[in-house]
Symmetry: C2
Subunit: 298 residues, 2 copies
């Protein structure tokens, strides 16, 4: 397969940056902005992404559609594309590369839905941040027959073919996110509770003394989290499903979903990545979340 | 208060090492081995801890009794000492310093039980490993009126008076253990699932590339965990209670308790700290836990 046209659904933080990077490499980048937010329209325009205006057009014009969205929307998107495929009268040209953070079993369900409608399907997982100008590409793992052909998108994107089995890329993503977003969820519990209990300074001093690397890492990562909390809820639920399927407990990540749902509900969770005013340091973040919790309890 | 005699209940890994360190500093160290395991008897003897043979004797002869046991036994112990106090006919000399990993609200309940029986109570929390010969003392935080007088045990033990409020030391311990034992529980989920899904090498490579410090820390700590898993179950439940009380979710740590319960149920969980043959490297630990899970599912 030669890849000349790639659909980006949807052009959010990650999607628009990936689209822009591919566009700069000479790939035609398209999307369907029907019903999308003003923010997605602005990001798409900024990234030079062309609006085809319909799902049917995406299926006939694209070689591949990259699905990049909050994971709780990934299933609805494949169902919608399957419906659009039913209206074409021909086999769709486009395959769907699901790059979302979903459980391996979810990836298999999406594959079944897509293939039943004649749409090819690849399982993907993105590890690393958006490829904003001047930043390296995240690693994009792709599993399934034909994943190899996507290495043609290198070096614009760091594409890593990851075997033929639809589930491997998702499994890797779930395990990796456990030790980043999962650990951050536990850290929020500990920092906010230490603040509420009045033991914050001793807690920090203990961490500085024996967990200095972890503290430094959390101080770097936690302030960036609140505007993304809304889409991490679904990701935590997919990780819970992954571990439930494995015969380990789903509860840890059902709890992590609760934590990000709480953060989403606070004023911090209403901000957007490109315009932050609150919680931009660990101290301010913890103080504001403790205040929000006190308010909720009173 | 002058501290001449200290009771150690019970002389397990942490207790016998603390007792031995205090004994070497000239403090008389006693316990009650009634109904205790052969292992506790051996550890007590090794540490030079004298067996008084009854709870009543502990209450009349000790200045303080250090309660150091799996946290799910902490409540039963205070209830038992309260009953023994009722048989004395005089106010007990000993106070109980509860050094166990319990929720702040649990510490308050224990205080109420002890004080109703005329027994003084301090809330404590131990951060760091046992003070085996040649190793530094863990930090022993003590909250409550009179905690200051325990600094007389320095430098044998690193005692840190931590305010008058019965709950502060426990709160600190719960928050700290979140980022050690809690993170280790999530790590077990991720490593074992990556192994089961056949993506272990790529997972390790990603961690080495962007979470190298965390991977190194986990490779150091996880192999030491299995023989302690049985007593971490109760600690995870106390952390769950702490976060539930705070208005954050208890689920994360109810899940962590499930994970340590699973490990306790495997052959790895039946070993003792001083005689290990299985899971002494991260690779071997993960392989064995994945095998145990496969067996459980089949």
């Amino acid at each position: 397969m030669t890849i000349k046209t790639v659909g980006i659904m949807t052009p959010g933080d990650m999607g628009h940056a990936i689209g822009q990077r591919l566009g700069e490499a000479g790939i035609r980048i398209v999307t369907n902005l029907e019903g999308r937010s003003e923010r997605s329209r602005t990001l798409a325009k900024k990234a030079g992404i062309e609006d085809l205006g319909s799902d049917a057009a995406l299926l006939t014009e694209c070689d591949a559609i990259f699905s990049i969205m909050p994971p709780d929307q990934a299933g609805g998107f494949v169902t919608r594309m399957a419906a659009a495929a039913g209206t074409l009268g021909t086999k769709p040209k486009a395959l769907i590369a699901d790059l979302n953070a979903v459980a391996p079993s979810t990836a298999r369900q999406l594959q079944a839905t897509a293939e039943a409608a004649g749409i090819g399907f690849l399982d993907g997982g993105i590890i690393g941040g958006p490829p904003y100008p001047g930043r390296p590409s995240p690693r994009i793992y792709l599993s399934g027959p034909g994943a190899d052909s996507f290495t043609a998108l290198s070096p614009a994107l760091d594409i890593r073919p990851f075997g033929d089995e639809i589930r491997a890329a998702s499994a890797l993503k779930m395990c990796f996110a456990t030790l980043t977003k999962g650990v951050q969820a536990l850290a929020i519990q500990s920092f906010v509770t230490a603040e509420l209990e009045g033991v914050g300074p001793a807690f920090r001093a203990e961490l500085e003394s024996v967990q200095a690397n972890l503290l430094r890492s959390l101080a770097g990562s936690l302030p960036g989290m609140p505007p993304k909390a809304y889409r991490w809820v679904g990701e935590m639920e997919e990780i819970a499903k992954t571990y439930g399927d494995a015969g380990l407990t789903p509860k840890t990540f059902e709890g992590a979903a609760d934590i990000y749902r709480f953060i989403e509900s606070t004023p911090l969770g209403k901000e957007v990545v490109e315009n932050r005013t609150m919680g931009t340091t660990l101290d301010d973040l913890v103080t504001r979340l403790a205040d929000a919790l006190r308010e909720r309890r009173s």
